[in-house]
């Protein structure tokens, strides 16, 4: 099973690839709305990609109010 660190790294890698930002420019504490310059709909798209990658279902309420990668990673980790 993945560790939280691995999960976080995979999320950052996926986000950088999906939104075309240089790999390594994102960190766990970053606010993804701000860092990626995305709106709430684009965030939902990102979540769908993450669900496919991790093979989980993440209900909308789980990510309600979440705006940083670290919290997102812990929510995903709890469902792995």
């Amino acid at each position: 099973m993945r560790t939280l660190e691995q999960t976080t790294k995979e999320i950052l890698d996926l986000a950088s690839k999906h939104f075309n930002v240089p790999a390594g420019s994102l960190s766990a504490d970053d606010d993804f709305f701000k860092k990626l310059g995305i709106d709430s709909l684009q965030t939902l798209e990102m979540l769908s990609r993450l669900e496919n990658h991790f093979g989980i279902e993440l209900p909308d309420y789980e990510v309600q109010g979440v705006s940083d990668f670290k919290t997102l990673a812990s929510r995903i980790q709890s469902r792995l």
């Binding site: 709106d39 709909l41 309600q64 705006s67």
Partner: protein, 570 residues
């Protein structure tokens, strides 16, 4: 649709609707690709009455208030029906607010009962604030796992009474609901809506956008919002139509819902409509050259034949594939909650998909004007709905002034705030705070806001006072948040953003540390509430005798700055 003129309350109309349309499908609930449930009006009645009886057995009656904090689902509507059946008042709250904000509004509304869902309750019960909501006696939580700690709440599913509840009639002038238009931080604005407000608001819809048994409304906007409460609950119910709820609002599942449920109408906020346009445009651009040429030619023909008004059958024939992607039954997309860019509306109309661009506000129940499509115009928000008078107060030489409305749909006032009510409803006219102009054809055009607030593309109203608390104790002499368009009027509904105006201490400078502090505080706000930049101001803020900032005076002084160079990005 039922003849609403016959009814005194929305509860009475809904009660009759459940009997009249008993065999029709009332609600469909979908979770991703799975359809979870499909219930008829008869099923709805059975479930609602058992809940109503249990509610009545607790002593819930006229004068009592019940709040609902849930995502869109059948249990939202069943709970609301039970409250109205008992003669109670609904307090629908936004499930996207923070627990702190939700407790504030539960306290302000003096709600006696709370209907919520387990994930929301988990956060609410862990957040301080409950002790302040002293009126709250009964908490009903849906879909709680079997061994969950409910923290004093009861399970919605097992809250069932035996026997028939008693229907409690209400008068048209009685309060049906308290809907918060804003005010989670400073001054809560709880709009008290009467039964008459809803009955009168709904009356003209069938002539413009008819619904019937078998027609389907896709409910995406949160049901606590005035638009979905009307279009995703009351109007379809009194018409015997079907409402579809989706458990996830990921764009791919929303897209799939159109053909799957043969959606007749949907309401979208501008952000979602724009996203839909982007997706479609990308698909059109990806067509092979020959096909694209043919497609563009068909769009051109469609544009020509729909110039005077929609011709749905013809458009569906000409642009079959586009319409099939939307299920082939879509009559119109209703756009509301915020300002839409004309080119986005035109894009859809050119494809033969009518976009009902509308203007309204919670204080006016929901809709004030709507495009009647005779002909379609992307540059206005349409004409006043029948029964609604619109006038332009204090127009300037160009005819632009504050939009004021008078109608039976206007709220009776703000809860516990007679002063604000008197400022907002003047001589029977609701002063909207929006700037507009009526053109010779009677269409309303909007040109910005007179009030210090913004509306996001997601339809969220943000008042600067509501977010200032996050900047409290900021190490500066004084600060205030403003809507940039309030300081620098734009004559446009676009480019709305909030700015933080700071006055530094003598000798203090705007350092990187200070910028970082502001940015960190800003990030604690939900993303759509965040400020866009900082404005430095070198004089003392004008204040009243009680030391409140005179915001309009300060805005007038700030207006002398050049907007582009004054706003320092964060």
């Amino acid at each position: 649709m039922l003849d609403l003129a016959k009814y005194q309350s929305i509860g009475a109309a809904l009660k009759d609707a459940l009997d009249q349309f008993a065999g029709e499908v009332c609600l469909i609930e979908s979770d991703r690709e799975r359809e979870k449930e499909r219930i008829t009006y008869r099923d709805f009645k059975v479930r609602a009455l058992a809940l109503t009886k249990a509610l009545q057995d607790t002593g819930f009656k006229v004068g009592y208030r019940a709040s609902i904090i849930m995502t869109n689902q059948s249990k939202w509507l069943i709970s609301a029906y039970a409250v109205l059946y008992c003669g109670g008042t609904l307090v629908p709250l936004d499930y996207k607010l923070t627990p702190h904000e939700q407790w504030l509004l539960l306290k302000h509304s003096s709600a006696d009962v709370l209907f919520t869902e387990y994930p929301i309750w988990r956060q609410l019960s862990a957040s301080p604030g409950r002790s302040a909501a002293t009126a709250l006696r009964t908490i009903l939580v849906t879909e709680a796992p079997p061994n969950a700690d409910l923290n004093g709440a009861q399970r919605w599913e097992s809250f069932r009474g035996q026997g028939e509840p008693v229907f409690v009639p209400r008068k048209r002038s009685d309060i049906a609901s308290i809907v918060y238009s804003s005010g989670t931080g400073g001054r809560p604005k709880g709009c008290m809506m009467t039964h008459e407000n809803y009955l009168e608001q709904c009356a003209p819809f069938p002539a413009l956008y008819p619904l019937w048994p078998g027609a389907t409304y896709l409910s995406i906007l949160p049901t606590n919002h005035a638009i979905d409460f009307m279009l995703g609950f009351f109007y379809p119910f009194v018409s015997g139509a079907t409402v579809v709820h989706l458990r996830t609002l990921r764009p791919e599942y929303v897209r799939e819902a159109f053909p799957k449920y043969k959606v007749t109408y949907v309401t979208l906020v501008p952000l979602v409509l724009k996203n839909l346009q982007k997706g479609l445009q990308a698909r059109f651009d990806a067509l092979p050259k020959g096909k694209r040429k043919l497609f563009n030619a068909l769009v051109k023909v469609n544009k020509r034949v729909t110039r005077a008004g929609p011709r749905l059958g013809l458009s569906r024939f000409l642009l079959k594939q586009v319409h099939q992607a939307f299920g082939g039954e879509l009559r119109a997309i209703i756009v509301g909650g915020a300002f839409s860019e004309p080119q986005v509306l035109q894009f859809f109309y050119d494809l033969g998909i009518s976009v009902a661009n509308a203007y309204g506000l919670t204080e006016g129940c929901m809709g004030i004007t709507v495009n009647d499509l005779k002909p379609f115009r992307a540059d206005t928000v349409g004409k006043p709905l029948p029964g609604i008078e619109v006038r332009i107060a204090n127009p300037d030489p160009d005819g632009i002034g504050e939009v004021a409305i008078r109608s039976k749909t206007v709220m009776s006032g703000y809860l516990n705030d007679p002063e604000l009510t008197a400022e907002t409803i003047v001589d029977g006219w609701l002063m909207t705070g929006d700037l507009g102009k009526l053109d010779p054809a009677g269409h309303l055009q909007l040109f910005g806001r007179k009030k210090n607030m913004i509306v996001t593309e997601e339809g969220k109203n943000i008042y600067p006072e509501d977010i200032e608390t996050v900047f409290e104790s900021l190490p500066v002499k004084e600060f205030s948040v403003f809507a940039a368009n309030y300081i620098w009027p734009q004559r446009s509904m676009l480019g709305e953003q909030l700015v933080l105006v700071i006055h530094l201490e003598p000798g203090q400078s705007y350092t990187e540390d200070l910028r970082r502090d502001i940015s960190a505080r800003n990030n604690r706000l939900l993303n759509y509430k965040r400020i866009h930049g900082v404005v430095l101001w070198e004089e003392d803020f004008p204040r009243t005798a009680s030391l409140k900032i005179k915001r309009n005076d300060l805005a007038e002084r700030l207006a002398k700055l050049d907007r582009a160079s004054a706003i320092l990005p964060l």
